[in-house]
């Protein structure tokens, strides 16, 4: 179709020519230009047909992008594509968020981790800085500086520990000096940006006008002590970075790049600028990236004192630990020495650490506790102890008691106790031992007197507790008491044989009793008869008559007050009593 239309068109251009001429000319023309015409027609068709044009572009679009990138100018391409890509992403999320989420999943984890690590690291860093600066001599110096200048301490620290920090970035409209965008690092004190930007522009102008600078040359930087203002000028905008410290040259490049990018991105907004900074709000984000900071490396010099402090702390800790151990062991030994002092029969004359050993000197009664055993009980190392005790006799009551017991060997049933030089014996013992005690006790070291008031002869008490009973009104012993009589006789023989060595002669009283029934006179007579009756038995058993003294007491010494028949039965009896009388035999 198009080809026919092409052919027809020239024909219409010369309607006045004769048909035969036309025909010949047409033939000629066709021969000459037909191939070109066809080519042009095809090209036009390609241009007009959107489908074919798209087809053509599609075959080279990838190469074109590649080529653009190879030219090193991918920024413009990226910026051109950015809005479309942003819109595409937004649309994709709107349709199905999972698609993008799935695609991003592998990168999100590491990105988040990295961000957290970075945040923690910088937190730690500033914490370290703060710690270091708050305690060191330099920290104190800075505190003084802060106090003197009235600036916050944090600012002083930053000032000294920063290598550099971009504190503020101004994006200024070149012609008017108005602020398009302004960003500030955290905790930086600032002046009104619109006035500062105006003044910066004024100064730029001032420099240009006053020093007749060459065209295109501008004020590139201003330095005030530690503060530097770096200025980069574009056709419509000026970017000014306020930097504390010494930024590397590469930072100026970053400023330049940001400026170029902004110039390009906001070209139309800059052309139509009427004082409204609204369209440049997004540029703030780009400027924020320029607010970089770099801290000083920790000087190795500074590590030394830190190491020294650590070493010092370690030494201090060890010393404290040793002191505690020493104090503990010392107090353990002291406690042991005190416990020795508490022991009866031990006298501590000196106790002290000497040559790595704990040396105790003193005196020890042979009956006192063994210091080596006490040492073992206290759980102390015997090899670290040096105990030296000399023997002696202690006058301590407990020691005297032990010594007496050891020398006098009291029978079971006898207790000895010394108090203030007097040895008390109590309980019952054979008469022989009692005599032995009375004879020897005063020889025991530490015993000055004896007390036997609570000591009883065992045989005597056995004899004296014996009761021989009689039937009512009879002086004949009740049957079945033969063994008691036999025992009484042997006890009497024993008592007489043991006690015959003194100045006193022992005698055995045979006491006859009656119950209260019957007349008193009859009872007295009956009691005499009962005593005589027992005496006769004992004489037959071989006891010497001189030692036996029978007497009747009637009802005057009843064994029991009579309430029952059993009481009366007990009162119809004969009992014994051992008496001593001077050796002047009367009967």
């Amino acid at each position: 179709m198009p080809e026919q239309a092409q052919r027809r068109a020239p024909m219409g251009e010369s309607p006045q020519k004769p048909p035969e001429d036309d025909h010949a000319l047409e033939e000629l023309r066709h021969l000459i230009v037909a191939p070109e015409q066809e080519g042009i027609a095809e090209i036009r068709e390609r241009m007009d047909n959107r489908e074919r044009r798209a087809e053509d572009v599609s075959s080279v679009v990838a190469e074109a992008i590649q080529m653009r990138r190879d030219q090193g100018d991918d920024r413009a391409l990226a910026e051109a594509l950015a809005p479309t890509i942003q819109e595409t992403l937004r649309e994709s999320v709107r349709r199905d968020p999972h698609v993008l989420a799935d695609a991003l999943f592998p990168v999100m984890g590491p990105a988040i981790r990295r961000s957290i690590t970075e945040t923690l690291r910088s937190m730690l860093e500033s914490f370290n800085e703060a710690l270091e600066h708050s305690l060191s001599a330099r920290g104190i110096q800075w505190r003084i500086e802060s106090f003197r200048t009235g600036r916050p301490f944090a600012e002083i620290v930053l000032m000294h520990s920063l290598l550099y920090r971009a504190e503020q970035i101004f994006l200024i409209h070149r012609e008017t000096g108005l602020v398009l965008s302004h960003v500030v690092a955290p905790a930086v004190a600032i002046q009104d940006p619109s006035m500062v930007a105006g003044m910066l522009s004024a100064i730029q102008q001032f420099v240009k006008d006053s020093f007749d600078s060459k065209r295109g040359d501008t004020l590139g930087s201003m330095d005030v002590g530690d503060l530097h203002v770096w200025i980069e000028e574009g056709p419509d905008t000026v970017i000014a970075g306020v930097i504390r410290g010494h930024a590397p040259a590469s930072y100026r490049l970053a400023l330049k790049e940001a400026l170029e990018s902004i110039q390009q991105r906001y070209a139309s907004a800059l052309d139509n600028f009427q004082g409204d900074s609204g369209p440049f709000r997004a540029a703030g984000e780009q400027l924020t990236h320029l607010l970089e900071a770099q801290y000083k490396e920790k000087e190795s010099k500074r590590k030394a004192p830190r190491a020294a402090i650590a070493a010092g702390a370690l030494v201090l800790a060890v010393v404290v630990a040793l002191l505690i151990v020493w104090g503990y062991t010392r107090s353990e030994w002291e406690k042991f020495a005190d416990s020795l002092r508490q022991q009866p029969g031990l006298v501590v004359t000196s106790a002290a650490k000497s040559g790595g050993k704990f040396r105790v000197e003193g005196f020890r009664d042979p009956f006192a506790a063994d210091p080596n055993e006490l040492l073992a009980q206290a759980g102390l190392n015997a090899r670290k102890a040096d105990l030296e005790f000399k023997p002696f006799y202690s006058m301590d009551d407990a020691m005297v008691t032990k010594r007496a017991a050891n020398l006098l060997v009291p029978p079971a049933g006898v207790q000895l106790s010394a108090s203030a030089g007097t040895l008390h014996a109590s309980g019952s013992a054979p008469l022989k031992w009692i005599a032995h005690f009375e004879d020897r006790a005063l020889w025991v070291p530490g015993v000055a007197a004896i007390d036997t008031s609570k000591l009883q002869d065992a045989d005597t008490s056995a004899l004296e507790s014996m009761v021989l009973t009689f039937p009512v009104g009879s002086a004949e012993i009740e049957p079945g008491q033969e063994s008691s009589l036999f025992q009484a006789a042997s006890k009497i023989r024993l008592i007489l044989s043991q006690a015959s060595n003194g100045n006193e002669i022992p005698g055995i009283e045979i006491v006859g009793h009656t119950d209260t029934t019957g007349a008193e006179g009859t009872n007295l007579l009956l009691s005499d008869q009962r005593a005589d009756h027992v005496r006769g038995i004992l004489l037959r058993a071989g006891i010497q008559p001189a030692n036996l003294r029978p007497r009747g007491v009637g009802t005057s010494m009843p064994l029991r007050s009579e309430a029952t028949d059993a009481d009366r039965h007990l009162n119809r009896s004969v009992t014994f009593k051992v008496i001593f009388s001077p050796a002047a035999p009367g009967n």
């Binding site: 008017t176 108005l178 619109s194 006035m195 009427q274 004082g275 409204d276």
Partner: protein, 165 residues
């Protein structure tokens, strides 16, 4: 946020500094005038529903001794011509400056401020002269560093004019 660059023009000692001191936000010292010949201040004016920041370039006076640095005027949206009412010469100087501005930058919104109205008895600029100024198209304000009301009016009027309202 809308900002406009506004210049304050006028001879030495017409009282610009005292106007600025009392009615305008300022962070820079007056020494800037004598060093670089300009001092930038700020005044926020409400126009309709909107706050407009006027960034004021207070340019050091132009008289026989001073060459006006036209480069400071670049990009301004309007200006105040400040005149000392008690000195007629300051008016003539100001009008001469105005001619130069119009020649260089074309016609842009401006107001004329007759300062020191507290000393009106001593004024050399009489009412006839003022009427003539108004005939020439000037909006004239009487201001004083002591009263100050008209200072705000002058800025407000200029802001409206600059925004075409």
């Amino acid at each position: 946020m809308l900002s406009k660059k506004v210049c304050m023009l006028g001879s030495f000692s017409v009282g610009k500094s005292s106007l600025v001191r009392r009615f305008i936000e300022s962070i820079f010292s007056e020494a800037y005038h004598t060093t670089i010949g300009v001092k930038v201040d700020k005044k926020v004016v409400r126009v309709g529903e909107e706050d407009v920041t006027l960034v004021l370039w207070d340019i050091h006076g132009d008289d026989v001794f001073q060459r006006l640095q036209l480069s400071y005027l670049r990009g301004m949206s309007g200006y105040l011509l400040v005149v000392d009412g008690t000195r007629k010469q300051t008016l003539e100087d100001a009008l001469a400056v105005n001619d130069r501005v119009v020649t260089e930058l074309g016609k842009i919104p401006a107001v004329l401020v007759l300062n020191k109205c507290d000393l009106i008895a001593d004024w050399e600029v009489d009412s006839d002269r003022e009427a003539k100024l108004k005939e020439d198209g000037w909006t004239v304000f009487h201001t004083s560093a002591k009263t100050g009301d008209s200072v705000d009016h002058a800025f407000s009027h200029l802001a409206h004019a600059m925004l075409g309202k």
